[in-house]
């Protein structure tokens, strides 16, 4: 039996310079590998958090799954059917995305009603005469008053706009909802209601939710399972409870130590993680976290560790992650 969403060896590359110049110099084409061989599976209704710092490829991964950027190699399957770069509208409909900045991802010149009815019309979700009703239902679903249907995004507050962004995604009745930093641009006091809304929508509609964020605390709040990414690779893939109790990858541990906590004073000059991530164009040999890793040894320089562990959702890409455990990849 295959999983609901299956991502296998997914790689996404971007051309970053002149290919002609590189060829004249006899160098390989200047490609940046944003997502480098990521594999995971998700069950229907599961909530997966993807965590990492800027440039780790988490948004690119989301866009590749949604079909917004072309995949260089690897495969994607939804419900056993392959997802290719060119998708028909019926397939496109099944995976929808909520973007980070609702003020730039909504068309400012359309009223909310136009925006939603256009989607419903093009994808023929409901008969034409039921479109107005459905728009109202969608607004109720995201806990907005129907009266806002007549306004344009500019009139709404940030929290309301993000709810419209969610309504827009839900209009197509997706099975997978990908939220890319959906609350990062919101004020702290309005983040919580949006997170609660995502949680309840997932339960009520049985959505598979992929929640992408740089914030471990937010991810912990909405996800059953967390994938930690570093420089295009998944370095740890665990259930949320296990990950936060007992992180196995030194990068995950450092990220947790770096997160500000209530009532803990900062020691002068101290930091959990020294330096900055290397450029994805000049990756270090062996494990890519090695130059910043506090426990790196010789083997880390020579071989890149696989994402492996005792079970498919207990995996970490570190040579020392499962010392004393039986490991299969």
């Amino acid at each position: 039996m295959s999983a609901f969403l299956e991502v296998r060896d997914l790689t996404v590359t971007f051309r970053v310079g002149s290919a002609l110049k590189a060829r004249l110099r006899g160098e390989p084409p200047p490609d940046l590998t944003a997502v480098d061989g990521i594999s995971f599976t998700a069950e229907r209704g599961e909530s997966i958090g993807i965590v990492g710092e800027s440039g780790c490829g988490k948004s690119t991964l989301a866009k590749a799954i949604t079909g917004l950027v072309p995949v260089a190699s690897g495969s994607l399957h939804l419900d056993g059917n392959p997802l290719t770069a060119r998708r028909d509208p019926a397939t496109m409909r099944r995976i929808q995305m909520v973007f980070q900045d609702p003020s730039s991802s909504l068309n400012p010149s359309l009223t909310i009603e136009r925006m939603l009815s256009e989607l419903l019309n093009v994808h023929r979700i409901v008969p034409r005469d039921a479109i107005a009703d459905r728009c109202g239902e969608l607004m109720e679903l995201v806990e907005l008053p129907r009266s806002l249907l007549k306004s344009r995004p500019g009139r709404l507050s940030g929290g309301q706009r993000q709810r419209v962004g969610i309504a827009r995604a839900l209009a197509l009745e997706p099975e997978v909802l990908i939220a890319d930093e959906a609350v990062a641009a919101l004020d702290v006091s309005v983040q919580a209601p949006v997170l609660n809304l995502l949680n309840s929508l997932r339960e009520d509609l049985g959505l598979t939710l992929m929640f992408i964020s740089h914030d471990l605390a937010v991810v912990r709040y909405v996800s059953d399972r967390v994938i930690v990414m570093y420089l295009g690779r998944a370095v740890e893939d665990r259930s949320t409870a296990e990950l936060f109790d007992d992180p196995r990858h030194p990068y995950t541990r450092a990220l947790m130590a770096a997160a500000p906590k209530f009532g803990v004073k900062k020691a002068p000059g101290e930091s959990a993680l020294k330096g900055e991530p290397p450029s994805a164009l000049k990756l270090p040999s062996g494990c890519r976290f090695r130059p910043r890793c506090p426990i790196a040894e010789e083997i880390c320089e020579q071989t890149e560790p696989d994402l492996a562990g005792p079970s498919p959702i207990q995996r970490a890409a570190c040579h020392f992650a499962w010392d004393g455990h039986e490991v299969r990849s």
């Binding site: 740089h214 450092a254 997160a259 209530f262 009532g263 004073k265 000059g269 993680l273």
Partner: protein, 326 residues
Amino acid sequence: MTKRLLEVEDLRITLQAGSGTITPVDGVNLALGRGEALGIAGESGSGKSLTLKSIIGLLPQGAQVEGNLRFALGDESPIPYTSTDVHGRGISIIFQEPMTALNPTMRVGDLIAEGPRIHEGLSKTAARERAVELMRQVGIPAPERRAKMWPHQLSGGLRQRVMIATALSTRPKLLLCDEPTTALDVSIQDQILGLLQEIRINLGMSIIFVSHDLAVLGELCDRLAIMYAGQIVETGPTDDVFTKPNHPYTEALMTSVPSFDATSVKLAGIEGHPPDPRSFPPGCRFSPRCRYAREDCTEADFELVATDADRSSACIHTEVFAEGGR
């Protein structure tokens, strides 16, 4: 309390907005001791950044400032000042966006050297040496080489370090921080907070740190001031405010972000959204969103009242809140 460095009394900032005027900062009082770190917390539109910028005289054009600002340039007590008195001499500021706050047409070393050249009359070479020394102090690797680079060639974290070096170049007594870590990754934010703590202790500097993130403020600040809709609604020592908030807004802020340590308790959040400065609600401005609000809240005059030694709150029903709260 230690000797005073800065006093802000009844600060009121008025801006032209469209056809009318708005008062995004409305009656703010602050006092800062030497070597103290004060955190101002608030959401967007609360007036926290404007308060900070008024201290160094960087308000947008057309802003009307009322109230008294006093700063101690020497060892005496704080005296009234104008922004030219403190520019490059007593107060420096660092901003949120290291991408836009650095002049893109100047090499990093020249940017840092500019302050000492203008304000201390250092020669070009001496100022350049000071720049490299400062870059080393703020933890920039290979400072000699990096001093010749342009801002766009540096990463976000390094740019923020350059901005800190620029701020330190004139040996300020007070460093104003306007959300300097908000645009950075967690691990870089952690490094910058460690650096600021180090600078503050080693140089005996005072800091006012503005952020929407209470946990970040807690890592650095001795005291907190919570701002809502242009007013300070609560002040107190950081630990006391965290363990027992004295204003419903503070409590709501604390329970609306998922805590890193706690497992999922349902987040409360706050109903509604922050008020528009064009139409602040009457009476207590938080009352329309407050879960403890009573009828008289909409009529109450704003007053920040001392609740304990060293603490104050603007809530007129602290007793109800304390019972209904925790």
